[in-house]
């Protein structure tokens, strides 16, 4: 074949030298590398006792957010469901009644909100689509389960703990330092 460019650089395929053919020195050299690795720092993490630090933008399990007063942020606009390439999100909207202002931030809210974790591919597009800072992906993984039904998460499974009544659990879910 003629060369197509001037940038080609043939790889070296020298035949084996005598030393390499004898092989024994190579075995010893290989062994010494293996032995030296025994004394190196271990790169593994002993999960689950230890966990490695995640990046702040890690895409794990979903959380439905509340504002500082403990009201749900979601307004059931449906953008997350539209943006979801796996069609994992289902919701039903309802109108906020009088006297429910302490529960929902907006006039419309999601009465039912489900994410099917068996469909979800953790792409993070729902988080990106949400115009109300209502859904985001946290650092936790989806736990395993024996029943399919249990992996369709309802709103109560997804909602972040109320910052008013359970500030510590809220902070933990948000990935913040615990508030004293």
């Amino acid at each position: 074949m003629q060369a197509l460019t001037q940038k080609s650089k043939p790889v070296s395929r020298e035949p084996m030298s005598l030393m390499e053919k004898i092989y024994l020195p190579a075995v010893l050299k290989g062994m010494s590398i293996t032995f030296s690795h025994m004394f190196k720092k271990k790169p593994t993490v002993r999960y689950p006792e230890e966990t490695r630090p995640f990046s702040p933008v890690f895409r794990g399990l979903h959380v439905l957010n509340r504002d500082e007063e403990g009201r749900e942020n979601c307004t059931a606009c449906g953008l997350c469901a539209v943006a979801c390439p796996a069609e994992a999100i289902t919701m039903e909207a309802a109108e906020r009644k009088e006297g429910e202002e302490h529960l929902y931030r907006e006039e419309k809210y999601a009465a039912r909100y489900e994410i099917n974790m068996l469909r979800c591919i953790f792409c993070g597009l729902c988080e990106e689509a949400c115009p109300k800072d209502a859904i985001y992906l946290s650092e936790t993984f989806a736990p395993a389960s024996f029943a399919r039904k249990e992996l369709v998460y309802a709103k109560n499974d997804l909602l972040i703990p109320n910052p008013k009544t359970e500030p510590e659990a809220f902070a933990k879910a948000k990935g913040l330092k615990p508030i004293k």
């Binding site: 650089k9 390499e20 190579a26 290989g30 990046s55 792409c123 597009l125 800072d133």
Partner: protein, 409 residues
């Protein structure tokens, strides 16, 4: 084989010639993926092979016809999942070609860094797995921590390690943070040592050389006829590289060589990949330097200025009406998409990964085709292993870097 057996005087009533049918795959641990090969075996030798495709066909091309452009990115993650960022970037560039979006230089260089990291991650897996298949497990473990480091770099940018969904049309979802650069520097500092050690353990190792030299060779002509690209074609001696022949993402600004082999056997493919990792490291270094040279506002650019396709900032969405409207339009896939036909290809982890899209101006592509290099290599597999030993067939498969997810789309 047949004549040979005819010379032997067999006892009466014995079967003259007997071959065994062996199912290699679809769930054989040595195939690293769902590949099925029905092998006709004569003892340890392969008489003929019949390859099957489609065990993890997920109809991506059909699915893509129902998705707005940005939702197709997670589908491309799952093609060659060893180097998903390259697929993602390739897809974004295809969209940009159709939409006529010009990306700033800094975005191009950032993309080059990510794509070359992905290439290293891909080759490191492929080459160490060839080692595993020829009986050397420890090399695989030694380089794995640097693949982890690459994955952590992805994670800092996009939030995920394997199925990255990294980047957006027009650029990146967020700028590289300090940790990313720190990790990249650590990678550039430590990886060459590990790669050198990796080389020392395999390259001139007699067992490895005996096992791989002459296994599954393919001539340049046959390889071209099949439509080989990438390292597998280069191992046969053709210096074809998409990064040089049709530069994308400003690859013309970088200085690097194309390693080529001669015989196209497993050893050549290994050598070519190995050398490519060194070249990739060079490219990353050059890109890193170029990025350092940006000053002032330019040094913060991480996406093109295309409000029609790139989502506005979240703070603006929460507070400004205009931004909110764009946000809704983009997410719903209601921004104008021109009708047209584009083909864009990138040098993927294992060959030329092409995207051929026809758009009729609707919210999703009218038709989208992925040119998947693995699918093409797999067609040649039967020819490559004919007459080889069974153990070589496994090494040949891993040296072609066949990824089932990409092959079946």
């Amino acid at each position: 084989m047949q004549e040979h057996q005819h010379n032997i005087k067999l006892p009466d009533g014995s079967i003259e010639r007997q071959t065994t049918t062996l199912n290699l795959g679809p769930t054989h641990p040595a195939t690293h993926g769902v590949f099925q090969n029905i092998l006709e075996m004569d003892g340890e030798r392969i008489v003929s092979a019949e390859s099957t495709v489609g065990y993890i066909h997920r109809a991506f091309e059909k699915l893509a016809e129902r998705r707005p452009l940005y939702q197709i990115t997670p589908l491309t993650d799952r093609l060659n999942y060893c180097s998903s960022p390259i697929n993602n970037m390739g897809w974004h560039m295809t969209c940009e070609k159709l939409l006529g979006v010009q990306t700033p230089k800094r975005v191009d260089y950032l993309r080059v860094i990510i794509m070359e990291l992905a290439r290293v991650a891909d080759h490191v897996i492929c080459n160490s797995v060839i080692g595993v298949d020829t009986g050397a497990l420890s090399v695989f473990l030694y380089v794995m921590q640097y693949r982890e480091l690459i994955y952590e770099i992805y994670e800092e940018i996009c939030g995920s390690r394997l199925t990255t969904n990294i980047g957006r049309i027009g650029g990146f979802e967020r700028n590289f943070n300090a940790t990313t650069w720190e990790k990249l520097e650590r990678f550039l500092k430590e990886f060459p040592k590990a790669l050198k050690e990796f080389e020392n353990l395999l390259m001139r190792n007699r067992i490895f050389m005996d096992r791989t030299i002459g296994a599954g060779p393919i001539s340049a002509e046959r390889a071209l006829n099949y439509g080989f690209t990438g390292p597998n074609l280069r191992a046969s001696g053709v210096d074809y590289d998409v990064r040089i022949h049709t530069p994308y993402s400003s690859y013309q600004d970088f200085n690097f060589n194309i390693p080529v082999g001669t015989t196209g056997d497993v050893y050549d493919r290994w050598l070519v990949r190995n050398q490519e990792m060194w070249e990739s490291l060079e490219i990353i270094k050059q890109a890193y330097q170029k990025i350092q040279e940006f000053k002032g506002e330019e040094a913060e650019v991480y996406h093109a200025n295309v409000p029609e396709y790139y989502l506005p900032k979240k703070e603006d969405v929460y507070t400004k009406m205009e931004a909110l409207i764009w946000h809704f339009k983009i997410i719903m896939g209601e921004t104008a998409i021109p009708a047209g036909e584009v083909y864009h290809s990138v040098e993927g982890g294992n060959g030329e990964l092409g995207f051929y899209m026809i758009s009729d101006g609707g919210r999703s592509p009218y038709r989208l085709h992925f040119r998947r290099p693995c699918f093409i290599y797999y067609q040649a597999y039967a020819e490559l292993v004919k007459g080889a030993m069974l153990a070589d067939a496994v090494a040949v498969m891993s040296s072609l870097n066949l990824i089932a997810g990409e092959m079946d789309a």
